[in-house]
Symmetry: C2
Subunit: 241 residues, 2 copies
DNA sequence: TCAAAAGTGTTTCCCTTACACCCATGA
DNA sequence: TCATGGGTGTAAGGGAAACACTTTTGA
């Protein structure tokens, strides 16, 4: 909910946004054999959270999610999927938000719309780490990549949201062939295998992996990549269609 | 949204319920080799819809969904799963609801909470047709089973919601082993195969199906079932754990 | 010429498919 | 004893797992 102050400042009554519904986005990236998650930090509070936002009154919620991810990464044409709606009453912890808002210079009255109960629609996005430009919503906040295995504690139930997003990613990786969205345009088979091994958290056999991927008929073989390493140069591949 | 008048009558301002969020439930049953869906009809309007409801202010949304399904079927211990949230702006068609409310004897003012934009959380439920007791929310409405292949037109985007629920059921049938929830406690292998064939809409080979199911180790073989038919009596099975 | 990593060949194994066959039941 | 559907046996086919092997690269 990185936009909460922004939305709050623009229209303190929450005008223009649907009330009671928020979007939380788990934005995955892949770099140095590590899965990364984009997190925002509310400065002066030490609180970390998933990027998020609200839905405009005339906006489709899927478009709102695209907008949120786009604003935080500077990218469009993003792979994005809804995976769960988090609606337990126990999520409702207004004190945490009061703290965030106070640190931002607002002294919200108790009935403020942002202090009401919210339901969150969880989306996960897969982006090309090399092209994403993490961008905070406002000047005092930060927006940065964190290793999935080394995240700070997050507000509310955001840690569980990340967990569930990862479960969904794992389940869909094979049968929806979405992993390519985490890689640059061109990549080696080794890159792809490392990605799979990282996401699934298990070693794969190279010959089997290569054959399986090639047999899918969705990879185009390009030129070779000479990395300078003392070994055979791997082919570069591109995802087709 | 079978409860809208109920909720509206109890508290015209929508007090006690979260605003802007509804639950729609696709309740599947299986009978006579047909997949059935539970639909409600708003009498005096000829409008059909999915059973639905709202979320109480202190209630988890998953519990609200359980409550809705429980109220319409008379069952508890129901298999229920969230599958999508429908949040396009184009869903917002207040005229249809005005008509429903007017037919129910209410003349809602334009700003009425039920005439605002709503986002729907879609759940699908799998119930034992033989035990379910379809129960309308209020006296003028009906609540009945319809063949999936022979449904009346539904309000709003409810037909697409059913479609997406069916897609989800198909995708999960094999890998989550949830089909048993559609059958009575005891069933024959033929019953189970018919269920699979109906849901997946394709013929399966009996030997392969039987071996696959038995190899899962989740079926307990009981006594034989003498149906009176002039053929070998099939075994009854029960789903274990 | 050597080590490191990429890529291919080949065998084995297992699960699914396909079909043949036997079994029990009531008319 | 016959038709009907239930259940098992068995052989063929296809894909994954495991491992051996060849190839290319820079030191």
């Amino acid at each position: 909910m990185s936009e909460q102050r922004e939305a709050g400042e623009i229209n303190p009554g929450g005008l223009g946004y649907l009330k009671g519904i928020a979007i939380d986005a788990v934005i995955f990236g892949f770099h140095d054999s590590q899965l990364k998650v984009l997190l925002i930090e509310y400065k002066r509070t030490g609180l970390f959270a998933l990027p998020g936002g609200f839905i405009r009154e005339l906006e489709n919620i899927n478009d709102a999610a695209l907008r949120v991810v786009s604003e935080r990464t500077g990218l469009d044409n993003i792979f994005l999927d809804q995976f769960y709606i988090f609606g337990d009453y126990s999520r409702y912890q207004p004190d945490e938000f009061k703290k965030i808002m106070s640190a931002g210079g607002m002294a919200p009255p108790d009935g403020h719309w942002l202090l009401q109960r919210f339901v969150s629609v969880g989306y996960y996005a897969l982006v090309d780490f090399t092209r994403a430009k993490p961008t905070p919503a406002i000047i005092f906040d930060s927006c940065e990549w964190y290793d999935l295995t080394n995240m700070p504690p997050l507000i509310q139930d955001h840690t569980q949201i990340v967990r569930k997003a990862l479960d969904t990613l794992r389940a869909h990786l094979d049968d929806k062939l979405i992993g390519f969205n985490l890689l640059p345009e061109e990549f080696t088979m080794g890159d792809l295998q490392q990605l799979y091994e990282t996401v699934l958290d298990k070693k794969l056999l190279r010959p089997a992996f290569q054959r399986k991927m090639l047999s899918l008929g969705i990879l185009e073989r390009l030129s070779k990549k000479f990395s300078g390493g003392a070994h055979k140069a791997p082919y570069l591949y591109r995802f087709i269609k």
